[in-house]
């Protein structure tokens, strides 16, 4: 009973953590961009305001859409949240961990993608169709890279369970893996150089253009889900690279937080220093990410042999 | 005695039918004689007589293993001939009926001949008896077909006569007393002079192969089958060819006894596979569905030759195939005849959508096509599978592969042509001619019965039949 209570409390805390902290990251990124651009920029908590406002707002639906238009974002949000809960947080471990959970994580993200694309197609808008097409297409390469990265981790740690996979550092291949995963992070979260969340030229967008028709609470769900996804990837990246398993609880938590911060700032810097790629070049970059992960995998394999 | 009756009865019947006055009732001679013949032959089949080793004629195991099938086929064709001849009442059927009956007698003779020259005489007689049947329609096309049949066939006959002379000389050279029964020849064994035996084998294989229709001596076949009526085609493909095949088997036995069995088998295998290949290539392109049947028959002769080349097991399967092929092919010829009459055309360019005009014949035609391309549970499937198995047991996987490859291409060719004829929208002209020749029960039943036999052969091959084939194999492939 007691243990259960503790476990329950821990679960609630973890849940709250994910839900509450996630929207922080876009804020930080924007701050960094503003800082680099020498502007004051929006407050770090901007997204929280937006979410609150959106949740209050009403909804306008296209005449064409089916209930799936609203259900899609909801399911996607659930999927991302579930994926996040599978992710262990350093020494605290995951709320739920089992042999092969990493595959569930990957496919939960896929589920989210499916729902978003479906919802986008609901409107029958050419722009949103374009966005959905880009999303699902680029995801093919991103998925390959992600699977390869996960393979590298499990080869290195000899396990298919996230907790044990992420305790040690990725070893010799860490740098390669970090680079690869970072690229995937940018792609999956539609950041520059793959996509530019701050532009409003529809033709150049992936994620933004998929949600043109969303409004009110559904849009809130989408935005919050996106931020959680970003946090998720950041955590995954950090844990893949840093050997948090070795550290004490406190140090680990600190390292994790610091790492996530670094990643976020990195994203901000990339966004402010780089321009968006031409769409022709996107596959090239993603393939590079895939190759990086592949090399990481090979390194991990050799490392195991030695 | 009964075995002699098998020969004499039809010949006498032929004479009487020739003298018979009424054109309308004469055709009934055919089923009548055929029925008696079937009864006799199956009686002999079930109660095989003892044949004196030196007998020139006799219902020996080989005859027992083959003749009943031919007799059965003849009876069904005879039943079909009655309505057929009534449809062609404008021509006198005197010669036709007589020739058919004479053919039956000579078939029985050929299958029972245990003597080199008797065998040759029977074959020659068959060649001649077929001539009036072939140009019964008396069209220029029929005449051309007959001319080619006669000259190519005549050449074959001449060659087999020379071959028989050679074999006789081989025995003479080996100190034989001039007894040309196969038993006596085989008993001379190695004493037979090898060069003469080999030369004789080549001549006889080519000669009787011409009658069988093995490539490249098959050239008369498409013309003859294409022009002849379904009955004649069925009897040529299912009866005359089997006589030639049994002749090859008997000669092979002598050659093997002389110690040249391996060479003989090699030649058989080569010419058999070659025939299958040629047939397959022709079938891929031909557009005439009666010539198609001829090429299919060439293919099946090739199958028989291959089977005979593969030792006892193969020969057993080949004898099985004689039965299944004769009966199934008969069904194809008869249903093709129905379709041909109703469609008023013979090529896939003229004939379409027969499934709507002659539904039953078309259905039988399709079923028969599947049957001859070795679709279970019809007879040919089992016999051909047996041959493939024999090829593997004989350690000839290459031959088996080529065999199956040919079967594949044959299947492509047949299905292509048959479905082109059966499916689609029929031509207006065909609708008219289809009304002229309606599908009466009397023309549907015979092919249906034959398909039934084919099915029965496959699903429930009677043990007595298997045992009969085994007996023939024991006679032809004595285990050393």
């Amino acid at each position: 009973m007691n243990a259960f209570a503790i476990a329950f409390v821990e679960f609630v805390v973890r849940l709250a953590g994910w839900l509450v902290l996630a929207p922080l990251l876009p804020g930080i990124i924007n701050k960094v961009k503003a800082w680099v651009g020498g502007r004051r920029g929006p407050p770090v908590l901007q997204l929280y305001y937006d979410l609150a406002r959106l949740w209050q707002k009403g909804v306008v639906l296209s005449t064409l859409v089916s209930p799936g238009f609203v259900a899609g974002p909801a399911v996607a949000w659930v999927a991302v949240l579930g994926a996040a809960l599978l992710l262990p947080l350093g020494p605290i471990g995951a709320s739920l961990s089992f042999h092969g959970d990493v595959l569930l994580l990957i496919y939960l993200l896929a589920l989210a993608r499916f729902c978003m694309a479906w919802a986008a197609m609901e409107t029958g808008s050419a722009f949103e169709g374009m966005g959905a097409a880009r999303e699902v297409s680029y995801a093919v390469l991103a998925e390959a890279a992600l699977i390869t990265a996960v393979l590298a981790l499990s080869v290195h740690s000899g396990s298919v369970t996230l907790v044990t996979m992420l305790t040690p550092a990725a070893g010799a291949g860490a740098v390669l893996l970090a680079a690869g995963l970072f690229t995937v992070l940018l792609a999956e979260n539609c950041r520059v150089p793959f996509d530019d969340p701050s532009t409003h030229l529809e033709l150049t967008m992936i994620h933004e253009v998929m949600i043109l028709d969303h409004s009110g609470p559904p849009l809130a769900a989408i935005l919050h889900g996106a931020s959680m996804k970003l946090l998720l990837f950041a955590v995954l990246l950090v844990e893949a690279v840093l050997p948090l398993g070795g550290l004490s609880r406190l140090a680990a938590a600190g390292a994790l937080a610091a790492g996530v911060l670094v990643v976020t700032v990195g994203v901000g810097l990339v966004e402010s220093l780089m321009a968006r790629l031409a769409f022709r070049r996107v596959p090239l970059l993603l393939t590079t990410a895939f190759l990086l992960c592949l090399f990481a995998l090979l390194v991990a394999w050799k490392g195991g042999d030695a | 005695m009964k075995s002699l009756l098998l020969i004499i009865l039809p010949l006498v019947g032929a004479a009487l039918a020739a003298l018979w006055r009424s054109d309308r009732t004469r055709p009934w001679w055919l089923p009548a004689i055929g029925l008696v013949h079937v009864v006799l032959s199956f009686w002999l089949f079930l109660v095989p007589p003892v044949v004196a080793p030196d007998a020139w004629l006799g219902f020996d195991p080989l005859a027992r293993a083959v003749l009943p099938a031919v007799s059965l086929l003849f009876l069904v064709c005879a039943a079909y001939a009655v309505p057929y001849l009534q449809m062609h009442a404008e021509r006198s059927n005197r010669v036709f009926v007589a020739a058919l009956l004479a053919m039956l007698g000579l078939l029985s003779a050929g299958h029972q001949a245990r003597h080199l020259s008797l065998l040759w005489i029977a074959t020659e007689g068959l060649t001649l008896a077929a001539v009036p049947l072939l140009h019964f329609n008396a069209t220029p096309r029929a005449l051309e077909a007959t001319w080619k049949y006669l000259l190519v066939g005549g050449t074959g006959i001449a060659l087999s006569l020379l071959g028989s002379f050679f074999l006789g000389y081989a025995s003479l050279h080996g100190g034989g007393g001039g007894d040309l029964t196969f038993v006596a020849l085989a008993s001379q064994g190695a004493a037979l002079s090898r060069p003469w035996v080999l030369a004789a084998w080549v001549l006889l294989l080519v000669g009787y192969g011409t009658k069988m229709g093995l490539a490249p001596m098959h050239t008369w076949k498409p013309d003859a089958y294409g022009e002849a009526s379904g009955i004649v085609g069925a009897l040529l493909a299912g009866g005359v060819t089997t006589v030639a095949f049994t002749a090859v088997l008997r000669v092979r036995m002598v050659v093997a006894a002389a110690g040249a069995g391996a060479v003989a088998d090699r030649t058989l295998l080569v010419i058999g596979l070659f025939s299958m290949l040629v047939a397959a290539l022709f079938l891929l392109g031909t557009r005439d569905f009666k010539r198609m049947l001829a090429y299919s028959s060439v293919e099946h002769m090739g199958i028989l030759a291959v089977g005979a080349a593969l030792g006892a097991a193969g020969a057993w399967a080949a004898l099985f195939h004689v039965w299944s092929n004769s009966l199934t092919k008969g069904a194809l010829f008869l249903s093709a005849g129905n379709i041909r009459r109703a469609a008023g055309g013979r090529t896939m360019d003229e004939v379409r959508g027969m499934a709507t005009i002659t539904p039953h014949s078309a259905a039988i035609f399709v079923a028969g096509m599947f049957a001859v391309t070795a679709l279970p549970p019809f007879g040919p499937f089992f016999s051909e599978l047996g041959i493939v198995r024999a090829a593997f047991s004989a350690g000839r996987p290459g031959s088996a592969a080529m065999f199956l490859g040919c079967l594949l291409f044959v299947f492509f060719g047949l299905t292509r042509l048959v479905f082109a004829i059966v499916d689609g929208r029929p031509r207006a002209a065909a609708r008219v001619s289809g009304r002229l020749f309606p599908e009466t029960l009397s023309v549907i039943l015979p092919p249906l019965v034959l398909m039934g036999f084919s099915l029965w052969l496959g699903l429930a091959t009677p043990d007595v039949l298997r045992e009969a084939w085994a007996g023939a194999v024991a006679q032809l492939y004595p285990a050393r």
Binding site: - | S117, L143, W147, L150, L162, S164, Y169, G226, E227, G285
Partner: protein
């Protein structure tokens, strides 16, 4: 006596060459007729003691091969009013060369095959092979039905020549063969040639190519 036979065989071979060489159908028919009579004579020469059956066969052969068939052929020729083989698929000179080469080859072949001592000296075997070859050359090389029929007859004469080797030991085979050959001959010529003449109003078999793929 063997020498007489060889003489006749030599004559037959000569006639082969004549049949091959001449373009005029009458002379080809003549050659066939003479050859038929020549080989018809042989059994009588071979048989030392007189034998009814053999005599009968001999006479029948001479009658049919020497008279009946040639007459029928001539009649068919007249009705179709064709005198000569115009466009042979194998020219006359090549045919002649083939025939000559064939004859030599036949002699060689006969040497290669083991013969009984009593046949060693006789020309029967080479003669028969040569005639068979000649027959094939005519069958393949001529386009007029009549010429082909002659070729067929020469082919059969050749086979008959070989049969003479066996006539003493296995008369039935030989005689049956001969008789049936004659029937075929008559059949072919009497009926079919005649019908072809009526149906196509010509005896040029190169016209008979309707049935083809």
């Amino acid at each position: 006596m063997n020498s007489n036979v060889n003489l006749l065989v030599g004559l037959a071979i000569g006639l082969n060459l004549l049949a091959l060489g001449s373009s005029r159908l009458p002379s080809v028919i003549g050659a066939v007729a003479v050859q038929g009579m020549a080989i018809g004579l042989m059994p009588l020469l071979l048989e030392s003691d007189f034998n009814w059956i053999v005599a009968l066969v001999a006479v029948g052969t001479m009658a049919v091969k020497g008279f009946v068939i040639p007459v029928l052929l001539r009649r068919a020729m007249r009705t179709a009013n064709i005198e000569r083989e115009v466009d042979p698929s194998i020219g006359f000179v090549p045919s002649l060369l083939l025939g000559a080469g064939g004859t030599i080859a036949a002699v060689a072949l006969a040497r290669a095959l083991p013969l009984l001592p009593e046949h060693a000296g006789s020309l029967l075997v080479p003669g028969s092979f040569a005639s068979v070859l000649t027959g094939f050359v005519l069958l393949i090389g001529r386009s007029k039905a009549i010429a082909q029929v002659c070729g067929y007859l020469i082919l059969e004469n050749g086979i008959y020549l070989f049969g003479l080797l066996l006539i003493r030991t296995t008369p039935l085979l030989v005689e049956a063969g001969i008789l049936l050959d004659l029937t075929v001959g008559v059949f072919v010529i009497g009926i079919i040639v005649d019908r072809i003449q009526r149906a196509f109003d010509s005896l040029d078999t190169s016209k008979l190519t309707v049935l083809r793929e």
